[in-house]
C-alpha cells in the first residue's frame, strides 16, 4: 500500500508569512489527493482536493500543488494567522474507497 510522508516536525512561522507543508507518496500516483485540517481533540475536517491533471488549486488563502513526477503535493497558507495553527493531513484514495492518511504536520503560527 501507499506510504505517505509528511514532515513530522512541527512548523513554526510568524503571523503574516506563508506556510508551506509537504506531502510525499511512494507508489503509484493517485487520481487525486486531499488535504485536511485537524484541531486538538477533534476529527479532521476536509479542506481541499486536487486531481492528478490539475497542477494547482486555490481556495481563499489556501493553495495546493500536485506534482506527479516528483510524487509530491505542497500545501500553502498565505498571510497566515494564529487561527491557522493546527495539524494538517494529506490523504489519498487507494483502490476503490480506502483513504490513507499521512501522519500530519503540526503548524504553529506565532503572533
Amino acid at each position: 500500500s501507499q506510504k505517505i510522508e509528511q514532515n513530522s516536525e512541527a512548523l513554526n512561522i510568524q503571523e503574516g508569512k506563508t506556510a508551506t507543508l509537504t506531502c510525499n507518496y511512494t507508489n503509484y500516483s493517485p487520481a487525486y489527493l486531499q488535504w485536511y485540517r485537524q484541531d486538538p481533540g477533534r476529527g479532521p475536517v476536509f479542506l481541499l482536493l486536487i486531481r492528478e491533471n490539475e497542477k494547482e488549486k486555490r481556495k481563499e488563502r489556501l493553495k495546493v500543488t500536485f506534482d506527479t513526477t516528483l510524487k509530491q503535493s505542497l500545501f500553502h497558507i498565505t498571510a497566515s494567522q494564529p487561527a491557522d495553527s493546527a495539524t494538517y493531513l494529506c490523504a489519498l484514495i487507494e483502490g476503490y474507497q480506502k483513504v490513507t492518511f499521512g501522519t500530519g504536520t503540526k503548524l504553529q503560527v506565532i503572533p
Binding site: Q34, R42, P44, L89, V99, F101
Partner: protein, 115 residues
C-alpha cells in the same frame, strides 16, 4: 451539513472487556470507516464498509470486528480489550467515489482508555 456522531467522547474499560463503539451518520453515505489515531503514527484504517453488511479490512484489523446492519450505523467491536488498544478512535463517512471524490466527514472521536 453532514453529521457523524460517535456515541461516546471518552470511554474507560478494563482489560478483557468487550467494547462497542457506535457511529451514526445522517447523510445517507454508502461508505463508512473506522480509524485509530496515535501520536507519531497518524490515522490508521481499521475497517471500512462500502455497503450494508459489507466490510473490508483496513491496515490494522487485528483485535477488532465491525458490524453494519443499517446504512447509517457502523459499529466497531473490541472483542477482548487490551491496553494496546488505548487510542483515539475516529469514525468517518463518505458518499460513493465519484460523487465527492472520497471526501471524508469525521466524527469528533472517542478517546478509549483500557486499564
Amino acid at each position: 451539513d453532514v453529521k457523524v456522531t460517535q456515541s461516546s467522547r471518552y470511554l474507560v474499560k478494563r482489560t478483557g472487556e468487550k467494547v462497542f463503539l457506535e457511529c451514526v451518520q445522517d447523510m445517507d453515505h454508502e461508505n463508512m470507516f473506522w480509524y485509530r489515531q496515535d501520536p507519531g503514527l497518524g490515522l490508521r484504517l481499521i475497517y471500512f464498509s462500502y455497503d450494508v453488511k459489507m466490510k473490508e479490512k483496513g491496515d490494522i484489523p487485528e483485535g477488532y470486528s465491525v458490524s453494519r446492519e443499517k446504512k447509517e450505523r457502523f459499529s466497531l467491536i473490541l472483542e477482548s480489550a487490551s491496553t494496546n488498544q488505548t487510542s483515539m478512535y475516529l469514525c468517518a463517512s463518505s458518499s460513493r467515489q465519484g460523487a465527492t471524490n472520497g471526501k471524508l466527514f469525521f466524527g469528533s472521536g472517542t478517546q478509549l482508555s483500557v486499564l
